[in-house]
């Protein structure tokens, strides 16, 4: 399916990533946020459904197990409740949650290390292994080509692009800033990672942009 290149006018990293009726979505999330701030916490349920895939991948990209990623995502939402009044926009909400999930993930990783160091008497402190990074032969053809090239990226590139791919267009700028932390000084890593993946895919006759 071709994409209409004439519809977008902004440039660079902030440019269109998806065509997801995103303006609509932005308005809807802003409304839910306002209702939640006015005391109707149930209004957040829709926002949870919208943002959980991004938060899940942000946690897993840090190498957490399934159980730990679930815990970190749950905890981030709980921590939001007390800060709800300070959140000014859907973009700020997304960036705040991503940042909180990443901090939670680092804390969770330290906890696991500590537990394993203490685990002389303990049998089951060892969690399931990290996300699958080997060849996934069960994947459909259209996923398999891309996946092979993703696996050839550095771990850091893989982690970054994984999260960037989940971010919806209106949130892209603010979340990208959050993702570069605490490596902000080294510049737009994500652009370099994406360029690397792009070059590999364009050189592969088995790949098509769809």
């Amino acid at each position: 399916m071709g994409r209409d290149a004439e519809t977008t006018s902004s440039s660079g990293a902030e440019r269109a990533v998806y065509e997801d009726a995103s303006a609509d979505r932005r308005v809807r999330i802003a409304e839910c946020l306002e209702r939640a701030q006015a005391g109707e916490i149930g209004a957040l349920n829709e926002v949870v459904t919208e943002l959980n895939p991004l938060l899940w991948h942000a946690a897993r990209a840090e190498g957490l197990t399934v159980d730990d990623a679930v815990d970190v995502v749950q905890t981030a939402w709980l921590e939001l409740l007390r800060r709800l009044d300070e959140i000014r926009s859907p973009q700020a909400l997304t960036a705040w949650l991503v940042t909180t999930v990443r901090r939670g993930a680092w804390r969770s990783t330290r906890r696991r290390r500590r537990e394993q160091a203490e685990a002389t008497e303990v049998l089951a402190a060892v969690p399931d292994p990290s996300p699958p990074v080997d060849d996934r032969l069960d994947l459909e053809e259209q996923h398999r080509v891309l996946w092979r090239h993703v696996l050839s990226l550095s771990e850091r590139c893989r982690a970054l692009l994984r999260v960037v791919a989940m971010v919806d267009r209106p949130d892209y700028g603010e979340v990208s800033v959050a993702l570069e932390m605490p490596h902000g000084s080294i510049g737009p890593t994500r652009a370099r990672c994406l360029a690397k993946l792009r070059a590999a895919l364009l050189a592969d006759p088995a790949w098509s942009p769809g």
Binding site: L78, E115, V122, H143, L146, R162
Partner: protein
């Protein structure tokens, strides 16, 4: 259309494919939304979060030895430690709250479907901070330590744990 726009279109296509592939390779657990929605469905949102700080399983459960899970949650004002033992198809929770005599501790249980509300039980901690929930059904649960009635400065807000699967 310029070359750089061309590349941007390719990037957009790549990111879109990447999103679909990750959704296929490592999707969020089916119950993740429900768990979060249960967690934040609280009467009062002026809460302190008690984060998971240790989660250990002791004993193998083999040859009649009891398999026990001990979990510690830490918040700014309290530490909550619980041990969970499987017993006759249900669980028993032995808990300690520090500091914490005479605090009301609620065990919120999620309903078995989206429409049924789960049961909730509340106990008061002993002088030592000890509390017990016995005969608890398996399922998703959350602990809420309620503020003291006299709202001392350090305990005016409820302390809430993330949900855990019993």
């Amino acid at each position: 259309m310029t070359d750089s726009q061309d590349l941007n279109d390719v990037d957009a296509a790549i990111l879109k494919q990447l999103r679909a592939t990750y959704a296929r390779v490592d999707p969020p657990p089916a119950d993740l939304d429900m768990r979060v929605q249960f967690a934040i469905e609280l009467e009062n949102i002026d809460i302190e979060v008690a984060r998971l700080s240790e989660d250990l399983i002791v004993g193998s459960g083999a040859r009649g030895t009891e398999r026990m899970r001990t979990i510690t949650f830490d918040s700014e004002s309290v530490t909550i430690m619980i041990s969970i033992i499987e017993r006759d198809g249900q669980v028993r929770i032995d808990g300690w709250l520090a500091p914490g005599g005479g605090r009301r501790v609620e065990l919120r249980m999620a309903g078995t479907s989206a429409t049924t509300r789960g049961a909730s039980r509340t106990v008061t901690t002993e002088e030592t901070g000890r509390f017990v929930f016995d005969g608890v059904d398996h399922g998703l649960a959350q602990l809420v330590v309620h503020p003291r009635a006299d709202t001392g400065v350090d305990s005016a807000t409820a302390v809430v744990t993330p949900p855990l699967m019993l």
